[in-house]
């Protein structure tokens, strides 16, 4: 498959009152069409910064982002973003939030009825058609995040960027959302970059897991190929040898090679190898 997105030798330096802060150094990653990439690393290492550079919300100090052989310099709907805290507009209903995006992206390409159908189709896709006319403060966190995903999908992006989309949700809702996302991905086969701090989530959803070293001057430490067949089932995989090998590979990277000494004590770190899978 062809390379759709090339993150090419990106450095990011933030000017701060205390002098320049090098957040990223030499981040280099090529992504194929239809690939699902997870970006994992300790909090504060620079995952969001990478995503924001791809979205062009930040401009890289060195290097650049090439989408379909063309460098991108401005944000655009072909790189739709699902933000961590849903970022729905609170004065609009679920339908209107998606409508704002659809109207902007397809203003000359779709008729009014086509738009309406397309918005409703996307609401159905995330199982939110019943919350069509609800405002964000009337629905739960998981529902908001679903609508955020529907809004991003409705832009028909070349590449979908998700910044810890399920980070703020409780474990059960999160599992539910992951299943939904797998189901959608099965249908649409989007190219996705998803930031996560959940090891299980990364292994369950991804084709490749990109592990980042700790900052400052963070970069890509290792890349892990996940060759588990689709569709994946979390219960079946729990006993799977390959799944557990991948899982412990990620945990080893995070808790041994890139251990955050000051944050996570040693005892807890070895314990979490077996039990927990949350990093941040």
């Amino acid at each position: 498959m062809s390379i759709i997105l090339d993150i090419s030798k990106v450095d990011m330096v933030f000017p701060t009152p205390k002098g320049d802060f090098t957040a990223l150094k030499g981040v280099d990653l090529q992504i194929k069409k239809g690939e699902f990439i997870s970006l994992i690393g300790h909090s504060g290492c620079g995952k969001s910064t990478v995503l924001n550079i791809v979205a062009c919300i930040h401009k890289a100090t060195m290097g650049g982002v090439i989408l379909n052989n063309k460098e991108v310099t401005e944000p655009g709907p072909e790189r739709a973003v699902v933000f961590q805290n849903h970022s729905l507009l609170p004065w609009l209903t679920a339908y209107q939030n998606i409508e704002l995006a659809v109207k902007q992206v397809f203003k000359n390409k779709m008729s009014k009825t086509e738009m309406k159908e397309w918005i409703e189709h996307n609401l159905r896709l995330v199982h939110m058609d019943h919350a069509r006319d609800k405002r964000p403060d009337e629905i739960s966190g998981g529902m908001k995040q679903r609508i955020g995903i529907a809004r991003a999908l409705a832009m028909k992006p070349e590449i979908l960027l998700m910044d810890e989309p399920f980070g703020a949700l409780d474990a059960l809702t999160r599992a539910h959302m992951q299943d939904s996302l797998m189901e959608i991905q099965q249908k649409l086969n989007n190219t996705v970059i998803m930031i996560t701090h959940d090891v299980d989530e990364a292994v369950l959803l991804s084709d490749r897991i990109v592990m980042m070293t700790n900052g400052p001057a963070a970069t890509i430490g290792e890349i892990l190929d996940v060759n588990l067949p689709h569709p994946r089932n979390r219960l079946a995989l729990a006993e799977d040898v390959e799944y557990n090998r991948l899982r412990s590979a990620v945990l080893t990277f995070l808790y041994e090679k890139q251990r955050k000494v000051e944050v996570i004590p040693k005892v807890e770190a070895t314990e979490s190898k077996q039990k927990t899978s949350d990093v941040a």
């Binding site: 944000p75 709907p77 973003v81 970022s87 507009l89 004065w91 902007q104 992206v105 405002r135």
Partner: protein, 332 residues
């Protein structure tokens, strides 16, 4: 047996249920009774203090004197209206008679020039304050948004705002009066000069809180919403209309309520000083008049001014509840 039954139905503790009902009643009565108690205490204190203050115009007016004046002022208003009606009837009769005698006679219609009553002054003041406030809002909200969006514009304009914001209406008034007299010259003016003067003074004083709050609302807008707008590549105008304006609505309303309060205070002062029609002029005229009733009429005006100020604020709050998406900011 029945006692046992009822005990079962009500649950474990009838004592608790009674307590709940009691506390519910207590809550409701508190909301009603406490303000009444407050008002009664104030009335007592007021009439007691009033009776012990002697002025050159007689005793300081107490509650009963004010109550009498309320009736008086309404009666005077009705009397004046009757006089006006009578004037027009007489004029019509006269004209008809002359036309009957001489068909070529051109009827003369003159307007009644009676004294403005207290109620007329109230209407004048309310119309003026709302006009001045609306003019201020029409200027302040776009300006506030522009300042909020552009750091450079903010840096350029901020010193001017900070200097003009604390200026008292009394300082503006002479300037405004002179400028209006010089500039607003037309053979058939649509509005009275005094109205324009009051209106501009109100606008000049009430514009700043709206500018400052609007720009604050824009600046402190959630960065996520800006990012959404960027990802969608919304054009500038759509961005302002669909993101910036709704996002800053709560702050805009905060500013509007502050401004309307200031506008009302400023207007009364301006009317007093400039002798422009309105409640301020009523107060000043009564003060100059110096009759035995003057003080109680002024006191009545004070209450009316306060009441209208309160009602204006309530109306604004109601508007905010209806229009703002952020219900929590529209509580009180």
């Amino acid at each position: 047996m029945t006692a046992l039954m009822s005990k079962k139905i009500v649950g474990i503790a009838p004592m608790n249920r009674n307590k709940m009902i009691m506390s519910f009643i207590a809550e409701k009565t508190q909301a009603l009774i406490l303000p009444l108690v407050g008002i009664c205490c104030f009335m007592l204190l007021w009439s007691f203090t009033a009776s012990s203050i002697d002025t050159s115009l007689g005793k300081f007016p107490g509650p009963s004197a004010v109550a009498t004046q309320v009736v008086n002022l309404i009666d005077e208003h009705n009397a004046e209206r009757n006089k006006e009606d009578a004037f027009y009837i007489r004029q019509d009769q006269r004209n008809e008679m002359r036309q009957a005698k001489d068909p070529s006679y051109q009827a003369k219609v003159r307007a009644y020039t009676g004294k403005e009553t207290f109620l007329d002054q109230i209407v004048t003041s309310v119309v003026t304050v709302l006009s001045g406030f609306l003019l201020a809002a029409v200027i302040a909200i776009p300006l506030g948004i522009a300042i909020g969006l552009s750091k450079n514009l903010n840096t350029a304009i901020n010193p001017i705002i900070q200097i003009f914001k604390p200026v008292s209406p009394l300082a503006w008034l002479p300037l405004v009066t002179m400028v209006v007299s010089a500039v607003y010259v037309s053979p058939e003016p649509m509005f009275a000069k005094s109205f324009i003067t009051s209106l501009i003074t109100v606008t000049l004083c009430s514009i700043w809180p709206m500018v400052i709050n609007t720009s604050f609302g824009v600046v402190s807008m959630n960065q996520d919403w800006v990012n959404v707008s960027q990802v969608l590549s919304l054009p500038k105008l759509v961005h302002i209309q669909k993101i910036v304006l709704p996002a800053s609505i709560p702050a805009i309303f905060t500013g509007m309520r502050m401004s309307l309060g200031i506008a009302w205070m400023v207007l009364i002062a301006a009317e007093m000083l400039a002798q422009n029609p309105g409640l301020g002029k009523f107060v000043w005229d009564e003060f100059q008049n110096g009759s035995s009733q003057s003080l109680s009429r002024i006191m009545t005006a004070v209450f009316v001014i306060g009441l209208i100020g309160y009602l204006l604020d309530l109306a604004m709050l109601q508007l905010q509840r209806a229009l703002s998406w952020d219900k929590s900011s529209a509580q009180r």
